[in-house]
Structure formats: structure tokens, C-alpha cells
Symmetry: C2
Subunit: 265 residues, 2 copies
Amino acid sequence: MDLRKNSVDYISERGFVDFVPGISIDCVVFGYHQQRLHVLLLRWKYQELWSLPGGFLGKDEELEDAVNRVLFERTGLQDIFLRQFRTFSSLNRHRKEDELREDTFKKIFKSASPSRLQEILKWLSQRFITTGFLAMLESSRVNLHPDPFSDSCEWIPVDQLPSLILDHKNIIQMALFQMRLQLNYWPVGKSLLPERFTMMDLQTLYEVILQKPLDRGNFQRKMRKLDVLKRHEKLMTGAANKAPYLYSFDEEVYFKLLEEGIGFS
Amino acid sequence: MDLRKNSVDYISERGFVDFVPGISIDCVVFGYHQQRLHVLLLRWKYQELWSLPGGFLGKDEELEDAVNRVLFERTGLQDIFLRQFRTFSSLNRHRKEDELREDTFKKIFKSASPSRLQEILKWLSQRFITTGFLAMLESSRVNLHPDPFSDSCEWIPVDQLPSLILDHKNIIQMALFQMRLQLNYWPVGKSLLPERFTMMDLQTLYEVILQKPLDRGNFQRKMRKLDVLKRHEKLMTGAANKAPYLYSFDEEVYFKLLEEGIGFS
DNA sequence: TCAAAAGTGTTTCCAATACACCCATGA
DNA sequence: TCATGGGTGTATTGGAAACACTTTTGA
């Protein structure tokens, strides 16, 4: 689908004719830095509200295409490893009066004709069934771009979520749950860490996701026995202690292992 | 939602005004008997085609409500343990010319007016996004009833699937995959076996699902150590061998265990 | 008394865990 | 040489797996 069809100008002129009514997608994109798990959120224009990156389903698209399009718009990345985790259809998930204000949309689509504006408002207030997708990205690879409704796109720590529209907070909770459940079948290390990393980096990542401490020695032995890590030169940190090795993943082995599941309980 | 709204007469008269366009649900219901895994399928009227029990989403329903409604219509059961496992949005999943014939629908809705019939045909040929749900039922508890499009509702062995409409074969494959993945968090024993069963019954069930043999002694010890089975009287089969005990689940313990996952690799 | 299947016991192996020990690094 | 954190070694435990032994049943 033509990316332009999702711009303010295009929608102001043509409305949402290119999209399937009633169906949307939302992306829960996790990132990891400063030893914390973050989620990608968009800040609304004109209101102190946030939402997940998401969008509508193009008439010529499948859900996965729509997600790839949206994530490409937000991050500049393609071929992101992602998986749908649940479809949300709650009857009371649509927009509430006290939440997103009509005049916010009026300001955003200020160039639209009055009748077009009515159509846009009607579209945005209809009932949507949304499918949630889960992705993980190493945040340094990402160039963030807000969408037509937002004025910024930021990484927010998952334990410091701001006010979110609709049921987006719930969607994030479900995504977290799924991530922990699917941890053994997901390339978390490859997705969330930079190309080269120390064993401690990998361990704290797992600790953050699992929310429990792991034994250092055992973690190291387990990882090394999987035969999935390539060891490189040492990282001289300047600290007064032994320098850790840098590692990277042997991708081929990694993805083969993931089919069986890399186990942590 | 009023169950009557899904009948031939009602639809012939009023069409699909009570349903959300473009959205449907499909149920993959597994059953277990004669030491084989079965799936519940509907045989189409006037054509040698089968499909999964499914339906459309009522305007006043959530997806889960729609599934419960459909399954109640087909089986007479309520409060079935079920879970959504995936939403399907493929662009080429909608009806193909060489598959379901228009005259089949004409025969089914023979009492509809010409204009109503056109509307029905248009509805049925639109693009649908469908969400697949997974359920398991002990087949002896079930009273089967076909839907408006079908003339029978039957248990079919999963390894002998007939010609299925759309992408329903694919949906079943995905459900099977999910079932194996979620096995440890799902009350398979409780759902698929009768109230009382022998240890061998339980073991072969697991073997059928996992598609691999398990050691008899180890299986027995493992199950008993979980402390989830109540042992009852022996079952006298009349065969010239030791009579097996009958067991039943301690439901409270069972569902508590499932939260953590009952483990088989 | 025999065959067949159920129930229980035994042994081995390996992974998970806990923790101890040595090593490298820069102050 | 000392504190600090990285890497490796070791002992223990418990479950998984393989398989042997005993018990029950009806012919």
C-alpha cells in the first residue's frame, strides 16, 4: 500500500476510502536499554494522551502487511520479527467522551471540508476490532517518526506508562504476558541487544524480562553450552576488574534452536 | 444475542443487519474417542464440502460471545473452555468460484426475495477477517446440531480431513500446532476424557496429541506425583489381565497446576 | 499355570542450583 | 596489593528416561 495514503493531507482530501472499516492493528514494540524494558509510544497532538503505534487495514492488505507498513513508517525498519498475539473486540473499547476530544481531530484535519470532517469523525468513532502484534527492536537501530495523530514517538519504560487511550494499557499487559510465555521461542537476544554484547548484558536482559534474578555462573555455562554464541575480543571498560568478552549470535544456530525452544523456567 | 437471528428464516427475511460486516469467527473443536483426535465439522447442504463451525460477529457481541453462541447452537454446551489462537486475514481466503456454488446459497435461502438474495450473496462473498478459537470437548457430552448452511455436524478424525472450504484446513493445522504448544497450560485431560478414566486412557491421549510414545511407568509416576488424580475403584474389563484403577481429576488442584504449566517436553 | 496388562521399583544420566575458587584489571 | 567483577569448577539435588520386577486377572 502506498504510504502516502496514511498522511494528514491525503486523509483530509479523500477520507479513509482505502481502508477496511472496523478493523485495525496495534503494535507493541519492546525495546531494551539502560537495563530496562521500554515500549514504543506515540504522544497525541493537542492532548496529554499516548497510544500504541497502530493503524487501519488497507483494502489490499493483510494484517501482517499493515503492521509492516506502520512499523516501517514509525521506525524506518523492514522485515521486523513480529507475531500477532491476540485480537481485541471488547464492546467498550471504543473511544470514550472524556478521553480523546473531538476538537483534537478538528485541529489535526483542519484542512478538511466540513462534510469530510464529519466523515472522519464518524470513522474514528466507529467500533474497531483490533489485532495486537508483538515486536522487539534494538532501539539504537531505530529512527522514530510520529504518525498523523501524534507529535512525537518515544521509548517509554514499561513500568512507567503514561495515560493511554482506549484499552492500550491492557494490550501492553497482554503483550508482556505473551512475551514471557513465548520467551523460549523468540530471538530476544538478537532482537533487543546490539550486535556485540557481554554475557552480563544478556543475563540482565533475561532477568528484566523474567523479573527474577539468575545465577551468573549457571547462566554463562548454559548459554555457552547451547553453542550459539561466538566469542570475540574483550571489552576494556576502564573499570578496575576483569574485562568481559564480547559475544555475538551465530544466527543460523540461533534460529534453529528457537524452533525447539531455548529453555528458561 | 438472540439465537433466532442466525436461522435461515430470519436471514431470508432480514438479511445480516444484526452482524458486523467483514468479521467472523471459526471454532476448531477437538474431541477424543477411539484413541484418535477428532475435529468437529459441518457438512454443507447440496455440496460435498465441509467447514468449521463458525459464524459472524453480532453488533452487540464480542468475539468470545459469538463463539459461545455458535458453540451452544452446535453442541448444546455452555461455559466451554476455549481460547482464541490466531486471526486470519489472507487476501485470497475469500470464496473461490470453483468452490461454494452460488446455487447452493440460492437453494438454502429459497424463501428470500430476489433483492434479499442478492444482498445475501454479496454479504457472503465479501472479504472476511476471521479469528480462530480453540476448544476441546468430551464428545459423549455433546448433542450435535448443524447450522443453516449445513445438513450435518460430525466428528472427523484429524488425519482424515475431507474437502474444506476456504482456508479451513490451514486453520485446523494452526490449531493443532497451538494445542501442542499450549498443552501444558490446557486442561486436556479434563476436557477430552470422561469423568472417570484409566491411566492408560490419559497416557494414550497425551501420546496422540504429542504424536510420540511415552514410557508407561514414568508417565504413571509423574501423574501420581502431581497429586491431581483421585483414585477410585478398579475397572473390571473382563480381559485376562490385572484390572486398572479408575481416576478422576481433583479440579481445584488441576486448575491451580495449569497456571504454572504441567510439563511434558 | 500362563499370558497380558497394571502397578511399582531401580538405576543411570543430565540439567538445575548453589556456591566456591581463581583470574584479570586499574586504582 | 587490593577491591571488583568475570570466568570456571564442583557438589548436590531432582527429574527424565530406560527397563526390570511384581501383582492381578481370566482363560
